[in-house]
């Protein structure tokens, strides 16, 4: 009992000293709590469905950020990984009766293979050329799907895929908790040494080479990691929707993810995730104004891009937090002295 109390007090101390001092950390905690407690506020199937899809796309957006935001390998065909992951999971489930626990990770591995197929030619290309080339890949796969309708379901897609979990609430929990875990992993990757090298490759590949880094390997690693996470998102989508069609490879999905990431702030991981949680439900909400839905949405996105070119959530963070000029620790913007070195912040 005493031990439990001791740890509780320790936890409280950590919360008070490390979490409550910064709005961004508080926001993350609130976000986690919101995700985990959502089903206790509502059991409306429609709302749960919207948020489950939001979680899936959050993983997808974060995986784009890992590749394009950090490593700077502009990918305009990110739906390839999503679609390949979804189709592979679906096919394995239908033909080999693999349970979702196997079909989803295996589908993600197929997406890794897709990442390598794009990654290897991409090593020779830069900027616009790379972006245009990557755009072609999902279109090629759609072509393949239409060529073998017997195996892939053609335009109609594959239906009758096994459910992820028996009830909507369980499905919501599986996907949302996975989303929290996977996004944390991605954020950790970008925060690690590997992440520093990804970032450095975007800045100046020759200088990274000159520091003894095999940049080829790291660029391929970025493609594979990104493909893996996007493939997982695709597999989850397949088992959640229980139908996979060519729309999972659509050009519009590829661009959707770019819009999400830029809107939230590329090269942050949290930006794209927050952007999906902001934009996807908002777009659903706009059902109320059905006729103007897309135009209002476009205006919102454009305004953000014009006035906050670094992304909405990065902009917000800069507003409420500032760096101490002396020790570079982040502080709440309304503090007068730094919380660590007590230097004046005025």
């Amino acid at each position: 009992m005493k031990l439990i109390l001791f740890y509780l007090r320790k936890l409280l101390a950590v919360v008070r000293n490390e979490v409550l001092v910064l709005p961004s950390r508080v926001a993350v905690i609130i976000f986690f709590l919101f995700i985990l407690l959502l089903p206790s506020f509502t059991d409306d199937v429609y709302i749960l469905r919207v948020f489950t899809l939001t979680c899936i796309f959050a993983i997808f957006a974060a995986s784009w950020d890992l590749l394009c935001g950090f490593t700077g390998q502009l990918n305009f065909g990110h739906a390839l990984f999503f679609g390949v992951g979804a189709y592979s999971a679906a096919l394995m489930n239908i033909h080999w009766q693999l349970a979702p626990w196997f079909s989803i990770p295996l589908g993600a591995l197929v997406a890794v293979a897709a990442g390598l197929t794009v990654g290897i030619p991409a090593l020779r290309l830069k900027g616009t050329y790379l972006a245009l080339t990557t755009m072609a890949f999902p279109i090629i796969v759609i072509g393949l799907i239409f060529t073998f309708p017997g195996f892939t379901g053609g335009e109609l897609g594959i239906s009758g895929i096994q459910k992820l979990a028996p009830t909507r609430i369980e499905e919501y929990y599986v996907i949302s908790i996975l989303m929290l875990v996977l996004c944390t992993i991605m954020w950790k990757i970008t925060d690690s040494n590997t992440g520093i090298i990804f970032h450095a490759i975007r800045e100046d590949e020759i200088a990274v080479r000159a520091s003894g880094v095999n940049t080829t390997r790291y660029k391929l690693l970025a493609f594979c990691l990104s493909g893996f996470f996007a493939g997982l998102a695709g597999g989850l989508y397949a088992h959640f929707m229980r139908i996979v069609g060519p729309s999972t490879l659509d050009v519009s999905l590829s661009f959707q993810v770019v819009i999400w990431s830029i809107f939230g702030g590329a090269a942050t991981i949290y930006g794209p995730v927050a952007a999906v949680f902001f934009l996807y439900p908002t777009l659903e909400l706009f059902h109320l104004i059905q006729d103007y839905r897309t135009i209002v949405f476009a205006i919102v996105v454009l305004l953000v891009l014009i006035f906050m070119p670094d992304g909405l959530f990065r902009w917000l963070r800069e507003k409420v937090e500032e760096e101490c000029p002396r020790c570079k620790v982040r502080n709440v913007a309304w503090r007068k002295t730094c919380r660590v070195c007590t230097a004046s912040l005025e």
Binding site: H199, A200, D204, A207, R209, A210, G212, N214, T215, C327
Partner: protein, 255 residues
């Protein structure tokens, strides 16, 4: 010789950038490679560090023309002209590239950490970092500043510091004085002198022949892809021909 370049030639498409160059750096020497614009100095450094070979690999299937490499480079008794660039760094031949090339959006400390990529041991990294900070105290002051906001001189110090993070056997510097004030150049060369006294071998590429040779043991003068003069730094400084190489032969009654 520790680093030896023999009969190296490089073609970019039909242009011969380096024409049968042989040179070398011995243990503990500071060697300056000087010459006017377009002499092929930077290309030679990039050839030694394997960056030209890498570029060749990348261009293999493009339509922009071909790169051709000939000759032999040995380092520490082993041939390195077929070794990939990142592997050459592992062997201790480290370049601080031309125009410094810092990772502008990253902090000074992160830049240095990329330089320490090859070292796995944390304590060792810490030690090298201390050493770099001791050589360039300003980097310590600015360690959490985004490197794009540093002045040109500080960025050059960062580039040298980044190269020093993996403890090179030979440090290759490409125009450290580029676009810097004389006082800053003096500070950087002061550090180079210090490193040389500690026994580090340095190959320095410079346009400013006077400064470069004053701090060097030996020197080579390049022009249009060839080594046209070689000798001790003192000899080259006293050689009127070197000036001619830069400015061309005298005409009429000038000077």
């Amino acid at each position: 010789m520790l680093l030896e370049v023999s009969n190296v030639s490089v073609w970019y498409d039909k242009a011969m950038l380096i024409n049968n160059v042989s040179m070398g750096v011995d243990q503990g020497e500071l060697v300056s490679l000087v010459g006017p614009n377009g002499a092929g100095k930077s290309t030679l450094l990039r050839t030694i560090t394997g960056l030209v070979a890498w570029e060749k690999e990348l261009k293999k299937r493009s339509t922009h023309g071909e790169i051709k490499l000939e000759g032999q480079i040995t380092f520490d008794g082993e041939r390195i002209d077929k070794v990939p660039a990142h592997e050459i760094v592992r062997r201790g031949l480290i370049l601080a590239p031309e125009r410094r090339r810092p990772f502008k959006e990253m902090t000074v400390i992160d830049n240095l950490m990329v330089g320490a990529y090859l070292i796995r041991d944390k304590a060792n990294i810490e030690e090298n970092l201390e050493k770099v900070y001791q050589l360039f105290p300003v980097l310590k002051e600015r360690s959490h500043q985004v490197s794009g906001t540093l002045s040109g001189g500080e960025q050059q110090m960062l580039a040298v510091g980044r190269a020093l993070m993996s403890r090179p056997t030979v440090l290759l510097l490409d125009e450290p004085s580029l676009g810097l004030a004389p006082r800053v150049i003096a500070a950087i060369f002061g550090v180079l002198d210090e490193l040389r006294h500690e026994g580090l071998s340095i190959l320095l590429v410079e346009q400013d022949a006077a400064v470069a040779l004053r701090h060097a043991d030996r020197g080579y003068v390049m022009r249009t892809g060839r080594v046209v003069r070689a000798g001790t730094a003192g000899e080259l400084l006293a050689d009127d021909g070197v000036r001619e190489i830069y400015l061309g032969p005298r005409h009429g009654s000038e000077g």
